[in-house]
Structure formats: C-alpha cells, structure tokens
C-alpha cells in the first residue's frame, strides 16, 4: 500500500469541489500529477495543488492507494465520491457529499461531515467520528433509487432524511436523530442508537429500522405485531416489533404481503 498525504495550505473562499480526491483519480500518479488534478471553486477552474501540498506516493491501482488529508476540509466537497477501492482519511471535518455514489473502499472522517454523506452509495464503508448533517445515505433529489449497499457509521448524531428511498446496505447513527428515517425505503437497514423525533418509516415499503432510544412521535401507519429478543450491532435487547407503513403499497411474496419492519427497544 502506498500513502498520499494532502496538507491543506489555503482555505477556499468559496467551497472547493474536490471531486478528484479519490484513490481512483490518484492511482498511478506522481505528487505533481495529483497536484494538477482538476477542481472547481465556484465556476472557476482550479487544481488540487492550489489548495493542498501533495506528498507521498499513490499505488498503481485505487485498491493500493491510501489518501490522508492532514487537516480540516470543512469547505471541501465530494471527498471520496464515486470511489471504487482504497482508503481516504480526513483528520478533521469534511463538507457535503462525502462518499457520494461510492462503490467500494473505506472513508474515515475524524471530525464532522455536512449533508449528503454516502448519497446513493453502492458499496464500501464510511466511518464518521463526529456528527453528520442531513440526508445521510439518501437518494439524490428527485431520484427514487437511494443507497444500494455498503455501511455508513456515524458515531455522533445526525439530522433529518436518513436513508430516503434506501434499497440496501446499513446506516448506523450512534447518537440522536431528528426526523424522516427510511422514507419511501424498499430495503436496507437503519440502526438508531439514540432517540429520534419522529416520522420514522413514512411510506416505507420494505426494509428494517432498529431504534434503541425512543420515538417521540410514532407514525400512525405502523402496527405492533409482537415482541422479540434480538442482537443488533453487537447488543442484545428486547424490541417491540411493528410493521408498516400500512398506508403504502406492499409487494407480495408467496401469496403473503411483505411489510417494512420497525423494532423499538422495549
């Protein structure tokens, strides 16, 4: 494995569109070539070298390339977006679209991230040590094809619209969440370790939600069916099992209607 280190040298005046910061774009390139990769600040064409000092070496392929950003990226978007392999680590915060459309590899952000983290992600892992804003693992605006695979773990709290139109994969929020979880979802798993305000599973067709804390306002479209003992993310607990959203269409399998499952810790 080879490691490329980017050291921030300048805070962008506008947000920096860092769509080139991926192992796929870095693979097989020298530091000088990496510094010459394109980026945008607003409508102005810039290069990564305008904002980072590049050192170290990239591997021959994305899978052999690790990227470390030694500093804060609060104003850098699209870090690790569309990446297929390798790793990206940010020692600090990152802006929107971290790991958006990601297909493989690992991203680790030690600080907080803004919205749209892991949007329409298909595979790989995202680990955020701090908090996330809204739209974790959601679909692009207007799209009906959300997150399909991979894992997003937020160690802090998250905002609203988590896993909208989710089709697969796992999202874990270790602290509290606001509203709209797995809206319109047709698959996937969301695990909320803290409390959540409400609108959990609205118009949900299929998929699973586990809530360890409390749901302040329950959706009326969910019905309690039983109480079960489960091990979720390494923790054993007793959950009340609800099915829903009863106001939504549901597919049939072997003559039986399939519902979304919501488990709330008893």
């Amino acid at each position: 494995m080879a490691t490329v280190t980017l050291k921030p040298t300048k805070v962008p005046e506008l947000m920096l569109e860092g769509y080139s910061i991926t192992p796929d774009a870095f693979a097989g390139k020298t530091p000088a070539q990496i510094a010459a990769l394109p980026a945008h600040e607003g409508k102005i064409h810039v290069t990564l070298g305008d904002f980072f000092e590049v050192s170290g070496n990239a591997g021959a392929t994305a899978a052999e390339t690790d990227i470390v950003i030694a500093g804060d990226c609060t104003r850098v978007k699209y870090i690790g977006s569309k990446m297929t392999a390798g790793t990206v680590k940010v020692n600090g915060n990152a802006d929107m679209y971290v790991g958006g459309w990601m297909k493989g590899g690992k991203i680790h952000i030690t600080g907080n991230v803004d919205s749209f983290c892991g949007m329409q992600m298909q595979g790989g892992e995202i680990l955020i040590d701090g908090n996330a804003q809204n739209y974790v693992g959601c679909a692009y605006r207007g799209d009906w094809r959300g997150m399909k695979g991979g894992t997003i773990r937020i160690k802090g709290s998250a905002g609203n619209d988590i896993g909208t139109f989710m089709l697969g994969g796992t999202i874990i929020i270790e602290k509290d969440t606001f509203i709209h979880v797995s809206t319109h979802a047709e698959g996937g798993t969301v695990i909320l370790k803290g409390d959540v305000e409400g609108r959990v599973g609205g118009q949900m067709v299929k998929g699973t939600i586990y809530v360890f804390g409390t749901i302040k306002f329950m959706m009326p479209g969910f019905k309690k069916v039983d109480r079960v003992e489960l091990e979720v993310d390494g923790t054993k607990a007793t959950f009340d099992h609800y099915i829903g959203d009863l106001g939504e269409r549901h597919p049939k399998s072997k003559g039986k209607e399939i519902f979304a499952d919501l488990y709330v810790k008893a």
Partner: protein, 575 residues
Amino acid sequence: MTSGEIIIKGGFVVDPTRKMEGDITDIAIKDGKIVDKVSSSAKVIDAKGKTVMAGGVDVHAHVAGPKVNVGRLFRPEDKLLSGVCRSAMAQKNGARMESGFSIPSTFKTGYDYARMGYAFVMEAAMPPLYSPHIHEEIHDTPIIDEGALPVFGNNWFVMDYLKKGEIENTAAYIAWLLNVTKGFGVKCVNPGGTAAWGWGLNCLSLDDVVPYFDTTPREIITGLLKANEYLGLPHSMHIHQNNLGNPGNYQLTIDSLKLAEGIKTKNKFGREQVMHSTHLQFHSYGGTGWGDFESKAKEVMDYVNKNKAITVDTGNVTLDETTTMTADGPFEHHLHSLNHLKWVNVDVEMETAAGVVPYVYDPNIKVCDIQWAIGLELALYAKDMNRIFLTTDHPNAGPFTRYPRVIKWLMSKKAREAVLDSFKHKDKVIDATTLHTIDRELTLYEIAQMTRSGPAKCLGMSNIYGGLAPGMNADVGIFDLNYKNMPSDPEKIEKAFQRAACFIKSGEIVVKDGEVLSRGHKKTVWVHVNMPENLQVKRDITQSFTKDYTVSLVNYPVRDYLAPHPFVLEVDVEA
C-alpha cells in the same frame, strides 16, 4: 438573417424535393434564402466528401409548455449527470448553460436540435389556456423555428358542437382559437378519453360515450377531420389515438385510421393527407396482456401503405431512462400504477388535462424490447417514405437527441442485430416481433424523406422547409458522411448525425463541428385564419368566459410581445 452570401461547394446533395440522390452540386445562399447563384465574394464552405441536406423538420415533440416544465421541475435527477461544462469557446460565444437529458433546458433543446441539423420543431400539444407560457418558452429556445398545436380533442366547445354535428361552428371555434393562441393546427389527444378522465373514466373504443358530453371518439375524430378541411389549414388533423400503449390496441388504431376514408383534402399548401396519426409505435400492439404482448406493426403499416390520405410518425423507443408526458391524463395514471414512480396529474379547465411520469425503457425487460422493435418495423414496412416520419414522441419514447441512433438502426441491419443480441430475453423478443426477418436498410435519401421533405409537406410548408430549391429557407446541414462510400461501421452514421459538421440556419452558420456559434434567428410559426364572423360561436365563447373560465376573455389571447419573431401563414376561408 444575414445578407452574407455563402456557397457550399462540392457536397453530395440529398434533396428528395428535387429528386437529388447524392448529386454533387453547389448550394448558394443569400439573404437567408437558397438562391441560384451568388457573387464571387461569397463565403465558401467546402463540403467535398460530405452529405448536404436541408434542415431537419420534427413533426411531433414536446419541447415547451407546462407539462415539459413540470417534468423539468420534478426530475432534478434528470439533470445530475447531463450538464455540460461550457467550453471556453461556448462561453466566448455567449452560449448558455445546458442541462437535462430527457427534458433538456430550453437552451439545450435549441442547441442540440441545431447540432443535429434540425431547423423546425413542432410542439405537439399546447393547452390553449397556457399558450402565453408556451410562446414565452418557445421564444427562450434558441436557433430553431417552432410552432405549436393547440389540443382540441377534449375541448368542451368542440364536443358540444360535434355532438350536434355542427362542423361549421367547430371550424369557426378552431379558427378563433388558432388566432388567439397563435397556434399552428388541430391536435387531438385521446379524443373524449381525457374528458372522461374527469369522471375517473376513459374512452378505449371509438364508440365509448364521453360522460356528460354524450358524444364519442368517432364523432370527435370525424368532426375534427371535416372542420380541418373546411378551414383548409396547412396541416391536417394531428391525432394521438385512443387506448395508447395497451396490448391489443392495433385493431382500434386501424379502425381510427379508416375514419380518414372518404374525407377529401382541401388546402392551398400542397398537403395531401387529411389525418396525421402520431407515435404509431404506441398504437401497434397485439396480445391480450403483457405476457403475450406482440408486434402488429405489419398489420398497421399494411393499412397505412394503402391509404394515401394518412401520414404517420414512428415514436421510436430508444431504450433510455426518460420522462413520459401527455395530455392523455388517464394513460399517465395507468403508467404510474404500473411502475410506481412519481406522477403529476393536471386538469386544464374546459380544454384538456395532462400527466407526467418518469419511465425507464430497460433493455432487460421484454416489453420494452418489443416496443423498440415495433418502432423500427413501422419505418421498415413503409412503402412511401414521404408519409412516415422519424420521431421519438420526445420525450415519451426517448429523447430527441437519439434521432441519430434511430437513423443508425434504420440504416444498418448489423446495428439492429447487435442490439437484439444484447437482449436478455432475445428469444422471446424474436417470437413477438418480425424485425429480425427484415433485411431492408434505409438509404440517406429515405432518411431525408422521413426527416425533411416528408414532414415539411405534411405540415403544409414544403415551399419553406425540408428542401434546398431556390427560394426556400437557407437551412442546410452538412454531415460527415460520404454518400458514395458509406462507412461500414454503423456507429459512424450515428456520430455524423449527432454532431453536424456544419449547420446553416436562415443563412447564418450556427454550428460548426458540433460547436454552437450563434443563437441564430429563430422564428415562431403560426396560422392566422381569416373568415367571416360566426355570431353564434362568438356568443358561445363570450358566455362561457363569463360563466366558466377562471380568466376573462380579454386576458386569454397571446400578446404579440410574447412571440416577437413571427412567421405567420395566412388562411382565407370564404363564406
């Protein structure tokens, strides 16, 4: 329009209006028109080894209006991966941002049509109440000339008059509406069915009664055909038939086409047909359900080939993710209940309705593949290529930017077979279609008929568009195709038509090597009917606007400033 003289030298000219099949000849341009000759100071464009055609004419596309805008608004994901970063040259030329794939922005619409060498596009369904907006949007679309067809098939006035068999009153109402909306001709979408949708119903046969109005699709179609010829409009009645998109609808399609029998064409614009039946692909289905869904393109085209009073366009499925939008309100609800994607439904007072639903024509789904085959079969079974036109019913069966791909499929059996071979359910598709048995490959001459001379004649504008005779508009496309030595790789055909080597619109070079150089001199084309006042219709309109409409009569017409570049075709009707 520039007065600059241009001469296009040495190209293979393909011009069906003058029976030119790749003749090497020069095309001279002056003052925005084709002329016999120009002075020696004319700008010379070398077209040696390239094909020269008139600007394309699109007879049916949805490119402006409320439902197109709704599509743009409710499908941000259509823009996500389709934006083009403006090149330095584009920025220098003042070109605007382009976005959208199936429902491109107005700018992208104009630029992309121009890049493909198209000069005229007909917006195929204008809800009259929203005609001011449509004209604003047409004005906002650069380069291409456009017209718009107001919809009449579910209009309350029309249904009231036709129930009583009043052709003259219907004609007077049509004339009034064309004049106030700056419309081009008579469009009819799912006659009666869209009105029935107000009661949650539809009209799926010619004799289904429209609730409340007590008329039938048969009466509406026949009445509009007669009223159109009473007025002698440039274009014929333009119909989207009943029961679109359902298995087994081909018999109804043929029955509806037969309504054109016995109606005589009457006009001064060189038009020969009395009915234009649009996106025929959606109406040529056999089978009783999606399981035994099959092509009936042969049966439908056998009838079309026999009846000279009919023109059609194909509505080719291009196997893309797209956005369906139509004034056929009940159909869009039906589609939404099949694919569960987002749906918009709109009612337009006393006139029409509309719906919008995204749709993915997935090559792994058998039905989509059969639809793809049917669209191509229609063109390949046609005998008179001046009566069948290339469309994708943009964006319903695919975006207009796929015309070059459809041309490739029509011109190359090899290209068709490559697609067929890629299908997951190839055998089932072959069982349900006959495309694999057809060896025919269309020529450039036939493509020019389908995209240039044919549609221009069908719209009654054969002396303006679709040809390169002196006196016609100087809309000339130059394509990187050697007529005498066509490429063996079909991809090169698609590439040549996607990006014209050069496109001259109204005598000005607007595209060079696929790059847009100018916003051009676009015109809005409409029809103005001069006829004696019909007092009863005048009274009915006044009364209805007082009683029923949400706008007053004085606020209804399209103001002149909304269509600042008019090209008006005058029609005189004698008492």
